[in-house]
């Protein structure tokens, strides 16, 4: 069983790549969240900027990821930014769509009541609108996390310093060695599922008042009326 002994020999490598994978996914998920939140609040406050913001994030989402990594390589070199920047850009559309849908979903009578009782603009945003948008916002975090965990593998195209578990996939492909591809792919899937499950629990914990059925908006799926072409992967 050459496969089993190969796997056992590479457990150290696996641990290293899992840690790298988590790092390469977590940074874009967090930075993307912060950027998107600021953009979403700006869009809600100034409706004129909303269209351009959403369009721009939609255009970014359509660029093939391999092409974007390659295009950045001459600019930023073989550095972590080269992996993180594209991955961050891909989260923006997912976040924005969900944050805006969450903020739009706050009932007008709730906004009216908040204004009439004397909430200031920021108080209303922080204590009423954002908490009520939370189910969709956390839904966006789940989707962005799962999507980014998948995309991190593509950063292996930048060489063996990147890619997380994608490293094994690229290596396995190059050597036509099936077990190595599985060595990268299976943990990637498990990692995505585990993160999704944890965030799902968190979602329920954070919003005890909300119905359990809130589904995040996935820009990559068929979405009548607002189709988004292409896909990041």
């Amino acid at each position: 069983m050459i496969e089993v002994s190969w796997a056992l020999d590479h457990l150290d490598d696996l641990a290293f790549r899992v840690a790298q994978h988590i790092e390469l996914a977590a940074i874009p998920v967090m930075i993307g969240f912060a950027i998107s939140l600021a953009l979403a609040i700006w869009a809600v406050r100034r409706p004129v900027v909303r269209g351009p913001i959403v369009s721009a994030s939609g255009v970014l989402y359509t660029i093939p990821s391999a092409a974007l990594f390659a295009a950045l390589l001459p600019v930023t070199g073989i550095e972590i930014q080269t992996a993180v920047i594209p991955l961050t850009l891909y989260t923006l559309l997912i976040y924005l769509r969900n944050m805006l849908a969450g903020l739009d979903g706050v009932a007008p009578e709730v906004i009216e009541a908040a204004d009439a009782m004397g909430y200031g603009r920021w108080q209303r945003l922080l204590r009423v609108e954002l908490p009520l948008a939370l189910p969709l916002i956390v839904g966006g975090v789940r989707l962005a996390s799962v999507s980014t965990i998948g995309l991190v593998t593509v950063s292996g195209i930048l060489g063996d310093r990147f890619g997380g578990l994608g490293f094994f996939i690229f290596e396995g492909y190059r050597h036509n060695f099936g077990i190595e591809i599985a060595f990268g792919a299976v943990p990637t899937i498990l990692l995505a599922l585990a993160v999704d499950l944890v965030l799902q629990r968190l979602q329920g914990r954070l919003t005890p008042w909300a119905p359990r059925t809130v589904r995040a908006i996935d820009p990559g799926r068929a979405d009548p009326g607002r189709a988004v072409a292409g896909g990041a992967a």
Binding site: A107, E109, V110, E112, A113, A114, D115, A116, M117, G118, Y119, G120, Q123, V128, P131, L132, L134, T207, P208, W209, A210, P211
Partner: protein, 380 residues
């Protein structure tokens, strides 16, 4: 408990950009004064500007010109946030915060005002009890677990939380079924007896306006004040064709709902007790033009009627000779209800009794008709 304050509209006009006069929601030169502690109902058809007028008080909408005073303060002077925290606000869709418990919802304005936790909690629970919701049962729930009527009670409790001198209510009972609406109206009237807030209340329902208002402002499409007065003045003396049509052809009957038995001078009842001397009773009956004698017990509680003609043939007065029934009224019975009951009664006189059931006097159909005629002569 804070004191109520008057609300004054002085030549208030609201026009919307790009539109002329007479557009839906616009208000044209509205002047009226609601004295402190009174309920003023703004009523009119859709688009008459009644909601706009209400929302200008707490500056959810800002007037184009004119002034609105609360007490002596112009609402446009000073901080809008502070103004709103001092005005209770209730709307048809309630607008409870779905992510907060009922207690947190009620304590909203106290929280914004920086009250400490324990005081907020006590105040919220006190108000829940006041609107008829047991805090032990409701305080920890989320709004989604409540019925429409329960949510509206929470809405009223929330508006009262910081004890504001003025309350604005925009069709507060418009979304609940008629039975619940009736109950909520009665509860608000009962609360208002204790609280004596200045309340501005918007509705499109003239019956609700007559029932709830100390004063009624009838607004006409285009935002003109068609008439401002007490419900009785408006029913008795509609200022225009529009008001007359708006209040409806049955305004005579509606007026009867505004007058109660206590407002009438009661007719003394010719009475006798079982065991009284028949000859003396006959004499008393003959002296009174009313064709019946009322038999009462020792505590002056009514037993029944004896027809004068029958009295002639009796040898003695006993409880079992009483026959015809007639309705019993108390001081609070409206003349509309009284008339309706009398039209079906055997003897067309209602017996007015006090809390102990003792006879105070009589109300006859003639008295009610007389009252309507007198009122009609006040009219146009």
């Amino acid at each position: 408990m804070s004191t109520a304050e008057r609300v004054v509209f002085q030549h208030v006009t609201k026009r919307y950009p790009g539109t002329g006069k007479g557009n839906p929601g616009a208000v044209e030169d509205l002047s009226l004064e609601v004295p402190a502690g009174k309920v003023c109902v703004l009523v009119g058809p859709s688009g008459c500007g009644k909601t706009t007028s209400l929302k200008m008080v707490n500056r959810l909408i800002e007037p184009t010109s004119g002034r609105i005073l609360i007490g002596d303060r112009d609402v446009m002077q000073g901080d809008v946030i502070a103004l709103r925290r001092g005005i209770g606000y209730v709307i048809q869709q309630v607008g409870l915060f779905p992510h907060q418990t009922i207690r947190e919802n009620v304590a909203t304005v106290p929280r914004l005002l920086g009250w400490e936790e324990a005081r907020r909690r006590d105040r919220a629970d006190e108000l829940l009890a006041l609107v008829g919701l047991d805090p032990a049962r409701y305080a920890e729930r989320y709004p989604s677990a409540l019925s429409g009527g329960e949510r509206q009670r929470v809405g009223v409790a929330r508006a009262l939380a910081a004890d504001p001198p003025v309350l604005l209510m925009d069709e507060p009972f418009g979304a609940v079924d008629p039975i619940v609406r009736e109950r909520l109206q009665n509860e608000l009237l009962r609360l208002q007896e204790q609280l004596a807030k200045t309340i501005l209340f918007v509705t499109h329902d003239i019956d609700e306006a007559i029932k709830m208002g100390d004063l009624v402002a009838v607004l006409q499409t285009g935002g003109h004040l068609a008439q401002f007065g007490t419900p009785d003045e408006i029913l008795a003396n509609p200022a225009s064709e529009f008001v007359a049509r708006f209040v409806g052809a049955d305004r005579g009957l509606k007026r009867l709902a505004l007058v109660r038995v206590r407002d009438l001078e009661l007719r003394p009842a010719p009475t006798a007790r079982p065991g009284d001397d028949v000859a003396a009773a006959r004499k008393r009956a003959a002296a009174d033009p009313f064709p019946y004698l009322l038999l009462v017990d020792d505590a002056n509680r009514p037993i029944g009627w004896i027809d004068d003609r029958r009295l002639q043939s009796l040898d003695s007065l006993t409880a079992d000779v009483a026959e015809s029934e007639s309705p019993l009224f108390d001081r609070h019975t409206t003349l509309k209800d009284a008339l309706s009951m009398l039209l079906e009664a055997g003897v067309q006189a209602g017996i007015v009794v006090n809390d102990a059931g003792a006879v105070q006097g009589l109300v006859t159909v003639e008295m009610i008709l007389e009252r309507t005629r007198a009122a009609a002569e006040d009219g146009p």
